[in-house]
């Protein structure tokens, strides 16, 4: 009797375990390490459908050597602690071969987990300067560094060709939140304003999430600035701008990417937002046609417009998928190592390489025996030795209650 039960249990275990084993063999898991809940849940919501669209494209064309790409979510909640926990889960429990994400907010918690385990990351969302020169093997990003963003702000603010009707600003003050995603801008902005001949008169670091910034604004105004460069969350930025308005400030404002959207104008009111400048990541003008095609395709796929980080995600997922495919076609075992080792071969420029702009194009070229140079929506995606890219920036200006692109600063103007 006991023997029968034991046999039945073993049979049940085998019956349950075999499909799971077979499933594991059929799938390649990629982690989406992003905030899906909390204040920054919109980042995960923007990235996920684009990543899924590319995963579907890969899977519908036969997958990677017959294996489907499956996306596994790890919720960083936009914090360091939750980022650490989510990275541990994706890396050690789910066993993902690569990661899309994280944001700058969680990078400090994720960093050691991925480096210790040799997990390749292609992040579309982390501009933090902490990544600028950290690693040569596993870390890549399809979003430009905040160092370049900060330089773009200083360049635009001090050069009339990038401004609306304003004279170049000469006495800027920098107000920056004490959080990883914001403080990352501090040094590049200070250094760049120095380089462009308009040193920052004062840098005021503020604690995010305070009810009032009256005192910080008072300190900023004591330098009599003609421009305040504001790096903060949208709600803190709204409080600071309102406090400055109440204190009689009528100089200029320059805000970063998180604020350069219609919601921010609604939050601060059109009256207060009128005339402010904002930084925006833009697609390479050379890939305008590709961007239009992508937007149309995404709208058809997801039934909504592409949001911030959408184009960066498209490039990140294509890079990962093409690197996996190249490894597979070369007979390499699909692993974290082979993924990391194949990222540069599918993105580096080369005389004999076929330029491709999508997974499908890349697949055709690779299967025909060619080497490829993936060029994406954000730009050429030529990683430097630390996995960074360069990209142009848009300078936007609020006119009649709406953001208007005033100028594009090409990547080579920021060197």
């Amino acid at each position: 009797m006991i023997g029968t039960i034991r046999r039945a249990l073993v049979a049940s275990f085998v019956a349950l375990a075999l499909p799971a084993f077979a499933l594991a063999q059929e799938q390649i898991e990629i982690g989406l390490l992003l905030p899906f809940t909390g204040e920054y849940d919109w980042v995960g919501a923007n990235v996920q459908p684009v990543a899924q669209m590319i995963a579907d494209e890969v899977n519908e064309s036969g997958g990677i050597g017959g294996r489907d790409i499956v996306l596994v979510q790890g919720d960083t909640e936009g914090t360091v602690d939750a980022g650490f926990t989510a990275a541990q889960k994706l890396v050690n429990v789910d066993g993902v071969v690569g990661l899309v994400g994280p944001t700058s907010l969680s990078f400090a918690g994720v960093r050691q987990v991925v480096l210790d385990n040799g997990v390749p990351i292609v992040t579309p969302t982390a501009g933090t300067t902490a990544l600028d020169m950290l690693d040569r093997t596993y870390l890549f990003r399809t979003v430009p560094s905040d160092a370049l963003g900060g330089r773009a702000i200083a360049r635009a603010a001090t050069d009339a060709q990038y401004l609306a009707a304003d004279e170049p600003f000469s006495n800027p003050v920098l107000m920056v939140g004490q959080a990883p995603a914001m403080i990352s801008f501090r040094d590049p902005i200070q250094r760049s304003f120095d380089d462009y001949g308009a040193p920052v008169a004062a840098t005021i670091e503020f604690t995010p999430g305070k009810a009032s910034y009256r005192s910080e604004v008072q300190e900023a105004m004591s330098s009599d600035p003609d421009l305040i460069v504001l790096v903060g969350t949208p709600e803190d930025s709204a409080r600071i701008m309102q406090a400055a308005f109440q204190a009689g400030y009528d100089g200029g404002w320059f805000v970063t990417q998180d604020q350069t959207n219609p919601e921010f104008i609604e939050l601060v009111t059109a009256q207060l937002a009128e005339g402010i400048y904002g930084l925006e990541e833009v697609a390479d003008p050379d890939s305008a046609q590709l961007n239009e095609e992508f937007r149309a395709r995404f709208e058809e796929y997801a039934g909504k417009e592409v949001q911030i980080f959408g184009t960066n995600t498209y490039d990140a997922m294509n890079v990962i998928a093409l690197a996996l495919l190249r490894a597979e076609l070369n007979g390499e075992e699909i692993s974290r190592e082979s993924l990391a080792a194949n990222i540069r071969p599918v993105t580096d420029p080369g005389a004999d390489k076929v330029v491709v702009h999508s997974y499908t194009e890349g697949k055709e070229a690779l299967e025909a025996g060619n080497e490829i140079d993936y060029q994406g929506l954000v730009g050429p995606i030529d990683f430097d030795e630390y996995g960074n890219i360069t990209a142009p920036f848009g300078i936007r200006h609020v006119e009649d209650g709406e953001w208007v692109t005033e100028a594009i600063i090409p990547a080579d103007a920021l060197q």
């Binding site: 909390g38 204040e39 849940d41 919109w42 503020f206 604690t207 999430g209 305070k210 009810a211 009032s212 910034y213 009256r214 005192s215 910080e216 008072q218 300190e219 949208p234 709600e235 709204a238 409080r239 309102q242 308005f245 109440q246 204190a247 009689g248 919601e263 609604e266 939050l267 601060v268 009111t269 009256q271 207060l272």
Partner: protein, 286 residues
């Protein structure tokens, strides 16, 4: 001198916002004898419901009245369902229930209104410019509204039957019951009034903070507790005084010591007062 006067105005305004929350919390403590950790969420609801009412086409003053009345009713209902059945079960079940309820309400707000900050619909106002001195209009508006509310609370406590019954129950529940005061009705009235005051406090908080967030009430609760303890727990007038001191402490500390440690000054004052007077400034008096 200019900075001193401006700081004074902001300190009074901060104290005014805290005072509404503190008086409401103190009133409910006086009658129920437990600290309601979900009280902060009533502030949040007050602010969000005002924005909702405005978006439905009401003028701001009417929206505030409607929102505070609705939150008063919600607060009473929540207390009837979650707190009243536990009233005789001791301190701990009530405490844990109120913390749990706080998280439920907070996430409900997040679910209904989203996590994206929403602007409180108050028009921009330039300050009054008096030569070197500028007086911002919003803090003055907040002070005036809070003073009006304080006066109304004072009149209710001293001249209305329900107010007198609240004070009597707060002083001595057994004696109040023996005197024929129906404490169940007093309890309901207390929940309603304290929730209504919380909602108004939430509106003032939203006016000063500009952007509404689901955690706004919860984050503010600690400062409200400080004011309540400083004034002497259970004493509405002590809460007003405590709130004033905390508000001034935060703003003067922020201006003259460091902008990063605003709330720390509130607790420094609290510690100093409690060292000298453990029951708070007006401890025990109602």
């Amino acid at each position: 001198m200019t900075i001193f006067l401006q700081t004074l105005v902001f300190g009074l305004a901060t104290g005014a916002v805290i005072s509404l929350g503190a008086v409401g919390l103190s009133l409910s403590y006086g009658v129920t004898r437990f600290i309601n950790f979900s009280y902060g969420e009533l502030l949040t609801l007050g602010a969000y419901f005002t924005v909702l009412a405005v978006s439905l086409g009401m003028g701001l003053p009417l929206a505030v009245i409607v929102a505070t009345l609705v939150v008063g009713a919600i607060g009473t209902l929540l207390a009837k369902v979650f707190f009243d059945p536990l009233m005789n079960r001791g301190f701990l079940p009530l405490l844990v229930t109120s913390v749990g309820l706080a998280f439920v309400l907070q996430n409900l707000v997040r679910m209904l209104f989203g996590s994206t900050p929403i602007r409180f619909p108050l028009p921009l106002m330039r300050p009054w410019d008096l030569g070197e001195l500028f007086i911002p209009k919003i803090p003055v508006l907040v002070i005036v509204v809070a003073l009006g509310a304080m006066l109304a609370i004072h009149l209710m406590l001293h001249f209305s039957d329900v107010g007198k019954m609240m004070r009597a129950t707060s002083d001595n529940p057994d004696l109040a019951r023996a005197s024929g005061i129906f404490t169940g009705r007093v309890l309901s009235a207390t929940w309603f009034v304290s929730s209504l005051i919380a909602a108004l406090g939430g509106v003032l908080l939203a006016i000063t903070q500009i952007a509404l967030q689901p955690v706004m009430g919860w984050s503010f609760l600690l400062v409200v507790f400080a004011a309540v303890l400083l004034g002497g727990i259970g004493s509405p007038y002590g809460a007003m005084l405590g709130a004033l001191l905390v508000g001034l402490g935060i703003e003067f500390g922020t201006t003259y010591v460091s902008a990063d440690y605003g709330q720390a000054f509130a607790f420094l004052i609290l510690l100093l007062v409690l060292l000298l007077r453990p029951r708070g400034i007006m401890g025990g008096a109602a």
